[in-house]
């Protein structure tokens, strides 16, 4: 069973809801190593997204995701705006014209998104950013693709890897973004962006599972 444009819409709505519910949590994480706004940034951004996509039931997945990207860039207001904006724009480019995604499309979509984040943030794995959730997720996705598991299982594995990647950020020293201003003192705190990334990947797994 492929992921349809309808599934993607549901995913985006679920993401908005989950990010709204976790607004205070994400902000708390950001208050330890940043400026205490990641929750409100993401909530504001995805709130704008669901308004924007409310009438897009007929749109293909590429159009949908590109709309998400431009909306996030315009509304998030933090470093995560250009980062998630670029991620969704690249995901949209990788799925242009499609109304349904097979396993390979999903992996390609995530890979494009992660490459976009890397390029935008000039960052790589281990710098205590959202990439530390996203890179393990895409690696798990590729491995699952090799193992030819079904899409719900693939997404479940991606979400699990995002979660453990997110947890691994606790031990890392930030070398990008505001948290890098803390230097060694950033160790011991979970990265807010890695956490929102996990929430978003988890939301897709949950949407497809249900």
């Amino acid at each position: 069973m492929p992921v349809t444009n309808e599934t993607i819409l549901q995913w985006l709505q679920r993401s908005a809801q989950v990010l709204h519910e976790n607004n205070a949590y994400l902000t708390e994480l950001d208050s330890a190593i940043g400026d205490a706004d990641h929750g409100s940034n993401m909530d504001r951004g995805f709130n704008a997204v669901i308004t924007k996509i409310a009438d897009m039931q007929e749109a293909d997945i590429g159009t949908l995701l590109k709309t998400v990207g431009t909306t996030l860039v315009s509304t998030v207001g933090g470093a995560s705006g250009p980062l998630y904006g670029t991620a969704f724009l690249r995901a949209g480019m990788a799925t242009t014209g499609k109304k349904a995604l097979e396993t390979a499309d999903i992996v390609a979509m995530f890979e494009a998104a992660v490459e976009g984040v890397k390029a935008r943030g000039k960052a790589q794995a281990g710098e205590k950013t959202m990439l530390d959730a996203l890179i393990p997720a895409i690696e798990a996705g590729k491995q699952a693709q090799l193992e030819q598991v079904d899409i719900p299982e693939l997404l479940k594995r991606m979400a699990a890897s995002a979660a453990s990647g997110m947890q691994s950020t606790i031990g890392l020293t930030a070398t990008k973004g505001r948290a890098s201003y803390l230097g060694e003192r950033s160790v011991g705190h979970q990265d807010p962006g890695a956490t929102s990334s996990w929430l978003i990947v988890q939301a897709l797994a949950d949407t497809v599972a249900s």
Binding site: V73, S74, V76, A79, G81, P82, R178
Partner: protein
Amino acid sequence: MAVGIVIVSHSARLAEGVAELAGQMSMGEVTIAVAGGTDDGSIGTSIDKVTAALQKAANPEGTLVLLDLGSAVMVAEMALEMLDPQERERVLISTAPLVEGAVLAAVEASAGSTLQEVAEAANNGHEMPKGKHR
């Protein structure tokens, strides 16, 4: 025409304050456009404000963009990517300290210098004497 200056800051007041300070040194001869805060007025950056400021400061001599914090680089780069290529070539993002760089850039720009010279002047902001007297 003089090289234009764009001030990108997470704070609207900060951006306006920098423009007011730098503008004093360039006597209205230099367009200093600001992009401060988010669209809804909170602390953060706005790509629409950056784009509008780039438009306002755009001119044949080029534009120098100064930023408060590293995280503003990404929004500035996205705004640049949306320009058409000829326009984009005329814009430089400065790594200079915001306030000191903006004042020196405004002085240099008002003298009719090139974009490259204005960018170098901004970088001298690192050495602006503040009590360590030469």
